[in-house]
Symmetry: C2
Subunit: 187 residues, 2 copies
């Protein structure tokens, strides 16, 4: 395992810092490899060396923020972490994701660039989490429901709701209501 060369490390940092600014400054879906290269003062080839496309750069930036939430889900205090009933944990997850989208919606949006939402980034992790909650709640055929329940967290959807003038609280309220579907009730 060779060390990363000093100039390489420096450039990696420059790129990520510059990319964060670029994503914040303009429509994240319109950001181009050139934009980031220019902003970072780096050639395009250098970018491609590490990241295959713009979405990957956004993922790299987002990872850091998502990791915190992921730890909370796995081992944090209830209701986010283990210990609370599934419905409450799902609601807490929704709330936390809404906060994350509110804070880093630009990056999340950039993540969707190639339409690879399901392969790239943390989608698999969120899905596994929801799936385990559904199983714990003894929901029949939980596989399809997991994707269904994650759909409203698509960055596009969240952004659209906020752009419409819906407050963060209102969006969270809607998601919380959704979370009640995991409560088993008389059928």
């Amino acid at each position: 395992m060779k060390e990363e060369r000093a100039d390489a490390a420096r450039n990696r940092a420059k790129v990520l810092a510059a990319a964060a600014e670029v994503f914040a400054a303009k429509d994240p879906r319109a950001v181009t490899m050139d934009d980031i290269a220019k902003a970072a003062g780096v050639g395009r080839g250098t970018l491609y060396r590490r990241y295959p496309d713009v979405a990957s750069i956004a993922v790299a930036l987002l990872d850091e923020h998502e990791a915190a939430l992921q730890r909370g889900l796995l081992a944090g205090p209830p209701p986010l972490g283990p210990g609370a009933p599934p419905a409450e944990r799902l609601a807490a997850f929704y709330t936390a994701m809404a906060d994350l989208l509110e804070a880093h919606g630009d990056l999340a949006l950039a993540t969707e660039i190639g339409g690879r939402r399901f392969e790239i980034g943390a989608y698999g992790f969120w899905r596994a989490h929801v799936l385990s909650l559904l199983r714990e709640a003894r929901i029949p055929a939980p596989e399809a429901l997991a994707d269904t329940l994650l759909a409203p967290l698509a960055p596009e959807v969240f952004k659209h709701q906020r752009a419409q003038g819906l407050s963060l609280a209102k969006v969270k309220g809607a998601l919380s209501r959704l979370a009640t579907v995991v409560e088993n009730r008389p059928g």
Copy 2:
């Protein structure tokens, strides 16, 4: 109001027919104006004369199919049309949309090309419908919930579920479970 010239009408038909085949033949998100022009035996300028982009062509093709469902919602027999309780109507709507996505998923996918899902096509219609059901069910703050409930119908989501091996029935099952959120229950 001038009549459409005969050759123009002929070309419109040629274009739509060719476009339908092209969308069916390859990844609808990768279809280009050129592809359609070539397939229709028409110049690109002719395409741009009527349709500003690929998504619009897909919308034109999809409209026809969506119109039937729209009529059903407004004036058809229950539970799709008026008369049934909101939860049942929502479930019926979900089922019908799933069938529509199953039959014309390729077009629906092409509709999302520019990331304009919320402005283009029938999204506004579906939203208005769901909103009215939520109001009828006396759900508080229904605006945010409307978008939330429509999110799982995003063509990308449906396609992903089906591609994973989930049967149409399973997907419908998940959606039906979702529909139960409009049932008022003890809080």
